[in-house]
Symmetry: C2
Subunit: 256 residues, 2 copies
């Protein structure tokens, strides 16, 4: 174990250059995501080096990593600019995308499928706690934020709730809003599992990214206020456009 006294991020004794670049990229990503560069333009390499106590080489390597991630673009004569604003989506409370981004961006939905299904897939029926063979509703939407694809959302809904959702305005509204308003079923809680995966070619094409790019894959089971499962979703989110945020508290989750 090294116990050395070092000064600044770049002077870690014998730290490989790749690691210094990673540290710097982490710091820069965090500042970009927090909106530290309001006009979308990053300072030049010399100034970034000064702020992070890093060499020009380390700065250049870090910017290359962030360009790989699709976070920034670098053009001769123009400099380094943030390619896309990266939006934060809270993992603190249950909210639909449009609700969550209200006032920060314009969400529109391309409805790809909205249909009753006469028999839900067995695995979906189990999660929805309906009998094998029960019917339901399937909705698949490509969601656009400020004119660019953001996520591909697929929902399996129980039959009653689903039919009311189908009758609602799926182009303009979150499914959560439709469940509560069109179906009259207040929502309670949702269990979410967040995966990071490489985009398969089909998903990449729909989302407008390179195949293999990192995307979030969310699996979400949403329940009504009285605890019944109503909506099983699989969601693919472009990771270059979205950060998931949470505030965690020490000492256990809040009790319901």
């Amino acid at each position: 174990m090294a116990r050395v006294t070092v000064s600044g991020m770049d002077q870690h004794v014998r730290r490989p250059r790749a690691e210094r670049a990673r540290h710097l990229a982490d710091g820069l990503r965090q500042q970009i995501t927090d909106g530290a560069f309001a006009d979308g333009t990053l300072p030049d390499e010399r100034e970034l080096g000064r702020r992070f106590g890093a060499s020009r080489n380390a700065v250049r390597d870090a910017l290359a990593l962030l360009r790989e991630e699709g976070l920034i673009t670098r053009r001769r004569g123009i400099g380094t600019t943030v390619l896309l604003p990266k939006y934060g989506h809270g993992l603190d409370r249950l909210a639909g995308l449009a609700e969550e981004l209200a006032g920060r961006g314009t969400v529109t939905n391309e409805v790809r499928v909205a249909a009753e299904v006469s028999v839900l897939p067995a695995a979906v029926a189990t999660r929805l706690e309906v009998p094998a063979g029960a019917g339901g509703v399937y909705v698949e939407r490509l969601r656009w934020l400020d004119g660019l694809p953001l996520s591909l959302d697929t929902s399996w809904l129980t039959a009653g709730v689903g039919r009311a959702v189908l009758a609602g305005d799926l182009r303009e509204r979150d499914v959560f809003g439709l469940i509560e308003e069109a179906a009259g079923v207040p929502l309670g809680r949702a269990e979410v599992a967040v995966h990071a995966v490489s985009a398969d070619p089909g998903t990449a094409r729909l989302l407008g990214i390179e195949p293999g790019a990192a995307v979030f894959a969310l699996e979400r089971l949403t329940r009504s206020a009285d605890g019944r499962p109503v909506d099983v979703e699989s969601i693919r989110i472009r990771a270059d456009r979205m950060t998931l945020r949470a505030t965690l508290r020490r000492g256990g989750p809040p009790t319901t």
Copy 2:
């Protein structure tokens, strides 16, 4: 907008094969992550097709996607097996890795750096709310779970807390535990931002994955119970070994 009545996942009228495979992969990933295949062996293609109402071709394509993700392996004569158990890490409360996985797996830590730094990087000092030029402590650990790399954790700590942590058992303990016990500073809450990125070559080598594989990048700022920032972390987690989980409630986060 298509409004069709379909039966089962595979009979979506005119759905491209790639999308059927993605649906099926989502369902299977969820079952694998939930531990549905206790002995780690998946049923054969015919049986999976029956359970999900899908064709053999769709099953084969879905298994190919999951193999790409590093979740399963397929061997002639042996069948399809889960490559690694995928652990859930809760986003509901603030916990260290070893704490979180207690009883489910053995965490060991390879301490790569544990050092006082005479001057914290400016961006870190700002986040820790200490004056520019202040010193602190840097800890970098590669964390192993059941003998395989799981995550690369880097922490910047304020000087007083950090020195106590340096004196603690960094090989065996979570940094959170050391902050509370060795430094005597109870923790309060943390703000977490979760990114999904492609692993850079250096990180990939340390984590034992292919460069470009999807990994979680967590940025976490942890505060003491009285609200002072004490620990700024950047964490890279193998996404083939870890799922992040949360339970979300409708109607706003709990008030502190």
